[in-house]
Amino acid sequence: MSRARRAFASRANSRKSTGPNTLAGKSTAARNARRHGLNLPLLHDLGVEPDVDALARLIVGSIVGLAAEPRILALARRIAEAQLDLARIRRVRLPVRARLATEPTVAHELLRLDRYERRALSRRKQALRAFDAALPPLPARKAPAGEMAKRS
């Protein structure tokens, strides 16, 4: 092989095995792995923290006689986190799901997205179990008439 051909082949191989050189190219390549951001934990977005707290307090507040102790609140926060993560995943999934009727190939994409939902559901289940197990016994008291358990 002549020196010129070897140099040409070497340059061609080099182009195949090196990344982008320009800033724009590098910034594009840096985003290659990011499609929906569902691999990131929910609390990576600091703006979600107040929502998690608010939902945790709502969960604790929906159970009569349950004081918002730090331990109970921490367990409720785990439920809230998993639930808000589920909502985030379902929002990402929704536009893909809408394309299914006209574009059957998105079924594979939906199945790939499903693992995030499966993980979030598992986290929520564990969190709810821990929360239920940690609930203190109800106080034994005679409730005034009309305050009996009501199903809405």
Binding site: I59, S62, V64, L94, R151
Partner: protein
């Protein structure tokens, strides 16, 4: 003896936050796209809420999950049928091509548009080859078998999750019922013990008045 009035209060309508629907829309968004009809979903949700009577935010989330998964199952089944119907023309094209029908492409297009002449021509071509209309559907299925399989898996997953949601809801309600039972038992223990022995007392026999009772005849 404890009555229902002795039960400690649990979360009910009084403890439901006023903005519950808004909160639920935020944390458990319905699986509806922009063009999806809302009415069937809302009707199903209302029916299930009336049936299950959820208490507190967590049970409401579970009920929404149950309805969402059920709705998913129904829509995925419909999507599967729609994909097969939409690709029937493509399936017929493959069948007619294999049968060596002239101008099979246009004939399949006209058949798909429900042109009566084309339908008759296709029926004749299939009958001549001793084939039924099922081959068209089979060809459409073969063309999208991977997608149909993926949809079937999604249906299975949605059904399993729907049933799991129900089990979790019942488990949670059972835990609540257990707490209520324990609270009532503790309340009963705190009360004065019921006297179990009978105190003798004086009594006067009441004379039976004539005609008050009918004697049993043998």
């Amino acid at each position: 003896m404890a009555t229902s009035a002795d039960l400690p209060a649990v979360a009910g309508t009084a403890n439901r936050p006023a903005n519950l629907p808004a909160v639920l829309a935020d944390i458990a968004p319905p699986p509806l796209g922009r063009d999806d009809p809302v009415a069937p979903y809302e009707a199903l949700l209302a029916h299930i809420i009336a049936e299950v009577k959820p208490l507190g935010i967590v049970e409401h989330v579970w009920v929404h999950d149950y309805v969402d998964r059920h709705f998913d199952v129904v829509r995925l089944r419909a999507d599967k049928a729609n994909i097969l119907n939409a690709n029937a023309g493509q399936g017929l094209r493959a069948v007619l091509r294999d049968l060596g029908v002239k101008d099979y492409f246009t004939l399949a297009e006209r058949w798909h548009a429900r042109d009566p002449d084309a339908i008759a021509a296709v029926d004749a071509a299939l009958a001549a080859a001793n084939l039924g209309p099922g081959v068209v559907r089979a060809q459409a299925l073969a063309a999208h078998i991977r997608e149909i399989e993926a949809i079937d898996r999604m249906i299975c997953i949605a059904e399993a999750r729907r049933d799991e949601t129900l089990r979790q809801l019942y488990g949670h309600q059972a835990a609540l019922a257990e707490r209520l039972r324990n609270a009532v038992a503790a309340h009963e223990q705190e009360q004065e013990p019921v006297q179990e022995h009978v105190v003798d007392a004086e009594f006067t026999p009441v004379p039976v008045q004539t005609g008050q009772y009918v004697e049993a005849s043998g």
